[in-house]
């Protein structure tokens, strides 16, 4: 999709900072200025109190596996996980560059980015 000037159409203006940071290998979370909660995935209105006073905060990239599963019959098999970030929120992601048989809940993992579906996607690898 492109506008009449030939520039790429923006499909979600509020999330531009997120994708810009992701392209630089940084994961942004949202923090609410009214209730202080940090949340993910990002959206402009806080899902805890509906305040529109929400700000971007950068994740350290460190976290632990909350739960995981390996899709064994996929070709190739892949690991999916809920990762709890040190900042608090738990997000759905992938564990890459790992020994599937060594994955464990509470295992420390660290952030990296991979291009998926044409966009930078935050994935994790064993720390």
């Amino acid at each position: 999709m492109a506008d009449s000037n030939g520039k790429p159409a923006v499909d979600d203006i509020a999330l531009e900072p997120y994708w810009h940071a992701a392209a630089q290998g940084r994961l942004l979370l949202k923090q609410c200025g009214a209730c202080d909660k940090i949340y993910y995935y990002p959206r402009p209105l806080c899902p805890f109190c509906m305040s529109d006073d929400t700000n971007w905060v950068e994740a350290s990239g460190d976290g632990t596996i909350y739960s995981w599963s390996v899709q064994r019959r996929a070709d190739p098999p892949y690991a999916i996980a809920f990762v709890t970030l040190n900042e608090g929120p738990t997000l759905l992601s992938a564990i890459v560059d790992c020994d599937f048989d060594a994955l464990a809940i509470d295992q420390p993992v660290t952030l990296s980015f991979e291009e998926r579906e044409g966009r930078p996607a935050p994935v994790f690898r064993p720390a």
Binding site: K37, Y66, S67, W68, Q71, L91, R116, A121
Partner: protein, 387 residues
């Protein structure tokens, strides 16, 4: 306002097909509608309320009302995935209690086996807001439910063998159902030795993929009194949604905690009064978590509760899914809520297969989890009484 006792389930029908080659979804809706109305002793002109969900083609209620020739004055197309039809029972009772309709028809049909639909996924015209942040990691029905099992095992020491007992119980029941897709009785060893499909779930921890459908007719007390059918009264209902909560994730429990509490409060009965349960069995872990969340045992004790045949009719304390359930019988449209209500009504009528009919079955519960247990789902509970 309590809806307790203000409507009856008068008609049920489960489509016998498991593989509907050459039969479109709309026709299956019509066949199950016809079957349930015939079961109730009612006709097309009696229907004044219509309920369907995302499995219905086109604009759902509009397309199906047109195809069926309905003259409905009340319509509800609530969509909570596979639990939708239990929600529809709840909403039908509310609508009848409020005087908005007297004869509510609820239909489901689906063809994931022959229609090429992706299991567990309704076609979505607009991407949900989570898609950009989750879809790149290939979440599936399988691995999302599997992560619930993984966490449950970690927190509570639940074992693969305990989960396997749920499949063993379902297969023990399915052997008596001539329509069931899987009629072989399996053992715990066979379940845990079947291939891992998504850690820690094995192939035999998963439900079948089948075509089919079902329908229900819910009526007012006045109409129920005129019908020559067993009286199955709705005593209590509940529904609730649970989601990712902005990243405050806890996948060890479902929204069933809230839907069941409300249903029991409305019904005014205790957990131990329930003689039979239909539980959505997309996977064995779904059953185990629902048993805990409904309150048949404490959180974390589900593994011990389901072990050693406790869910088998005639053997255990809590007979479940006596038709074989989604694990062995069918899972029309990848949506198990409809068949859960149907088998519970059969039990209350005394129309279950004699080998699995629960003696003096006067109180039954049907419960479903729609959507994805580990991310966002809708739970629904209905408690029914034979009077």
């Amino acid at each position: 306002m309590s809806i307790s006792g203000k409507a009856f389930i008068a008609g049920i029908y489960e489509h016998p097909t498991r593989k509907a080659v050459g039969i479109p979804i709309a026709q299956i809706h019509a066949e199950v509608a016809h079957g349930a109305l015939e079961d109730a002793g009612l006709g097309l002109d009696d229907v004044d309320g219509y309920f369907c969900a995302g499995d219905a083609p086109g604009l759902g209620g509009l397309a199906m009302a047109d195809y069926l020739g309905l003259k409905a004055r009340h319509i509800d197309t609530t969509e909570t995935g596979g639990s939708s039809y239990i929600v529809h029972v709840n909403h039908a009772v509310e609508a009848i209690a409020a005087g908005h309709c007297n004869v509510a028809l609820i239909t489901l049909a689906g063809k994931p086996r022959t229609g090429g639909a992706q299991p567990g996924r309704a076609p979505m015209a607009v991407q949900p807001p989570d898609a950009a942040f989750e879809a790149p990691f290939n979440p599936t029905v399988l691995n999302i439910y599997a992560m619930c099992a993984q966490r449950h095992m970690y927190e509570f020491g639940t074992t693969a063998e305990q989960l396997a007992w749920i499949k063993v119980a379902a297969s023990t029941h399915a052997q008596h159902n001539p329509h069931a897709m899987l009629r072989n009785v399996v053992t715990v060893e066979e379940v845990v030795n079947s291939p891992i499909v998504a850690d820690p779930l094995h192939r035999l921890d998963c439900c079948v993929i089948s075509d089919g459908g079902g329908a229900l007719v819910v009526v007012s007390p006045d109409i129920a009194a005129k019908l020559n059918r067993p009286h199955v009264r709705v005593l209590g209902t509940g529904e609730a949604i649970k989601h990712m909560r902005g990243g405050d994730v806890d996948i060890t429990y479902s929204a069933g905690v809230w839907s069941a509490e409300r249903a029991f409060e409305e019904a005014g009965i205790k957990r131990e009064d329930i003689k039979y349960v239909s539980l959505y069995d997309s996977f064995t872990i779904t059953v185990l978590m629902q048993i805990e969340d409904i309150g048949f045992c404490a959180k974390g004790r589900g593994g011990r509760f389901v072990a050693d045949g406790n869910l088998i009719a005639g053997e255990g304390r809590l007979p479940f899914n006596t038709d074989g359930g989604g694990l062995c019988n069918n899972h029309p449209g990848n949506r198990g809520g409809m068949t859960k209500v149907i088998e519970a009504v059969r039990q209350l009528r005394g129309e279950a297969h004699p080998a699995v009919q629960v003696a003096n079955c006067d109180l039954a519960l049907a419960h479903g989890t729609g959507g994805l247990l580990g991310t966002r789902h809708g739970s629904a509970t209905v408690i029914m009484e034979r009077v």
